[in-house]
């Protein structure tokens, strides 16, 4: 279709009035507050541990000091604080400062009483090959103590389907915000995929299936600075192995972990986020363990965003020495690794080596992704598998996606739906 100059002018004349124009009155609003003539002398966050507020936000709040007071700027920061602390009501209060004609700005956080006994639904995922996986948790906060009772029924992360109960105690402030204590106790029953049971008959070296498992894992974490967390602890697993006769076995391990995360945003609106973890788990005779092995796990995530666009690169790897029970073997092909593959087609018994990478691009909630990974046992040939997919991913953790394994035969897509934070 040819558009003449006259038509273009006509179209412009029609469309320009529809363009949203900020009125002069709107632009005048920031100066409308009479207190904008006063300088901010100090800022304060009350009602919540400083460590619960991100460093980036605390830095931005601190930037108010020395500037003229702006209730709009304070409101924007309060909105960000509400996002970070969804269980709190946030109120901004400007008060007279200690010096004349100066103000103190206080961000007051108040825990909502009904959220003290809130039921949380951590990751809930429907995977067309695995079915529904989810946990239901009831955390009760009493000061820095958090008691969590939960029910778990999940098949997503491991080769087994776990169903049972969970109890967790966390002390978020052992004398200082930088020291935390945590005790986990899980008691679950297991169900196994026939592919795993059939594969076990072929590979007798891999430890067998069990029908129940109890885990007790105390740990202590140190946060030397905001973005780094170091954890040490132990994990006592007892499980009732079914074959050749029913008997109880143990995997008692020392554990250690490092978590690093950092978010930053440049003045031109470029957002970057880095997450990196390393977990070590070593089961030893010293702790009277039946299984002796060492398990290493690394992961790294990087996301870069600007406006409504975001790209992400994710990597994870695992290595084991010794003979680990099935719950500590690596597996790929679930709702977050090798999406599109069925983990029982990839490796029904998992492996003691694993490497996985993923790339994704998002525009608003629309997402496309590519996964590549391999899981294998020492001495075996590695075979990298690839998958592609697309879907919707929302800020509140909701997602729906369709993923396809990249292979020549029997390309059956996997549908996934759920919430994951």
């Amino acid at each position: 279709m040819r558009l003449g100059m006259k038509n273009i002018i006509l179209l412009t004349t029609l469309l320009v009035p529809l363009w949203p124009v900020r009125s002069l009155a709107d632009d005048q609003k920031p100066d409308a507050n009479v207190n904008s003539k006063y300088e901010v002398e100090s800022v304060e966050i009350t009602g919540v541990a400083q460590s619960k507020v991100s460093q980036a936000l605390r830095d931005d709040i601190q930037k108010l000091v020395g500037e003229k007071y702006s209730s709009e700027a304070a409101d924007v920061l309060a909105r960000r604080m509400r996002k970070e602390l969804p269980n709190y009501s946030i109120t901004v209060k400007a008060e007279k400062g200690d010096k004349p004609e100066r103000l103190k700005v206080v961000f007051e956080a108040e825990r909502n009483w009904w959220k003290r006994f809130d039921i949380k639904v951590p990751p809930v995922v429907y995977h067309s090959k695995e079915g529904l996986s989810g946990t239901l948790e009831l955390p009760i906060d009493i000061g820095p103590n958090v008691f969590t009772f939960g029910f778990v029924n999940t098949a997503d992360p491991l080769l087994e389907r776990n169903a049972g109960f969970r109890f967790r105690y966390e002390h978020k402030k052992v004398g200082t915000d930088r020291l935390q204590l945590r005790l986990d106790f899980d008691t679950t029953h297991q169900m196994w995929n026939p592919a795993t049971e059939a594969a076990l008959a072929q590979v007798p070296d891999v430890p067998g299936v069990y029908r129940s498992r109890q885990t007790f894992a105390p740990s202590m974490s140190v946060i030397p600075f905001r973005d780094l967390k170091l954890t040490v602890g132990t994990s006592f697993d007892r499980f009732e192995t079914q074959y050749p006769t029913t008997h109880t076995e143990t995997a008692y391990a020392g554990t250690a972990g490092i978590q690093y995360r950092h978010n930053w945003e440049s003045a031109d609106g470029v957002r970057q986020r880095i997450r990196a973890t390393y977990d070590l788990r070593t089961a030893t005779r010293t702790l009277d363990s039946d299984f002796v092995y060492t398990r290493h796990f690394w992961s790294a995530d990087y996301t870069l965003g600007r406006g409504r666009n975001q790209v992400g690169a994710h990597f994870q790897a695992g290595l084991e020495t010794g003979r680990a029970p099935l719950f500590d073997r690596y597996s790929l092909g679930n709702s977050y690794t090798l999406r599109g593959w069925n983990k029982f087609d990839v490796a029904p018994l998992g492996g003691d080596r694993m490497a996985h990478g993923s790339l994704d691009y998002r525009f608003r909630p629309f997402e496309v992704f590519y996964d590549v990974g391999a899981v294998w046992d020492t001495g075996q040939k590695t075979r990298a598998r690839h998958s592609l997919g697309f879907g919707l991913s929302f800020h509140n953790g909701g997602f729906v996606s369709l993923a396809f394994p990249v292979r020549l035969d029997h390309v059956a897509p996997v549908f996934m739906l759920g919430f994951r934070y």
Partner: protein, 200 residues
Amino acid sequence: MKYGRHIILLILIAGPASARLGAQSQSLQVEREGATLRVSTPHFTLLEGKPLEQLHNGASVTYVFELTLTPQEENAPVVRVKERFIFSFDLWEEKFSVVQQDSAGRSASQMTAAAAVAWCLDNMQVATRSVTPDKPFVIKLECWIAADGSESGSQNNSSLTLAGLVDVFSRKGRNPPPRWLAVAGPVRLTDLKTKGKPKT
């Protein structure tokens, strides 16, 4: 007593209802000033409760004032004037300040609460040219707080929690923002007191 129970029930129902009506609707004083009308309401207590608390916390609160003139025998107003005023409270001077949110951007400061409201009403001029002088009309002043989209709470709750759902479902049930109403009339233009020469 035979009707005792019914009377108590009636008092229980009517009491709060009448108190509510009393709190919402007040009388309006109207004066003529040349070709315009000026309104005042001495007991219009806008600056109280949560909005006042916000102002004392250093925030701005935008009030919308709407004046309508409706002929007695008609339903639709013949004149409608709507203005937005941004109130703030000087934390050091402990006085109110108001900025009219229009292109002129008129403002006044160092005022008491009553003076601040009176200043807003002073800046709402209603032209009388659309009103027939000898026909009675009702003049109504309505005032409410403009939504600023910065409600507290957890609207952006990023996790699926019971409280999140409670938030979502309870939002609808929250109290509506306060509205104030003052009414005068029916009056005739010719019956109104004249205030003198119009201001320039």
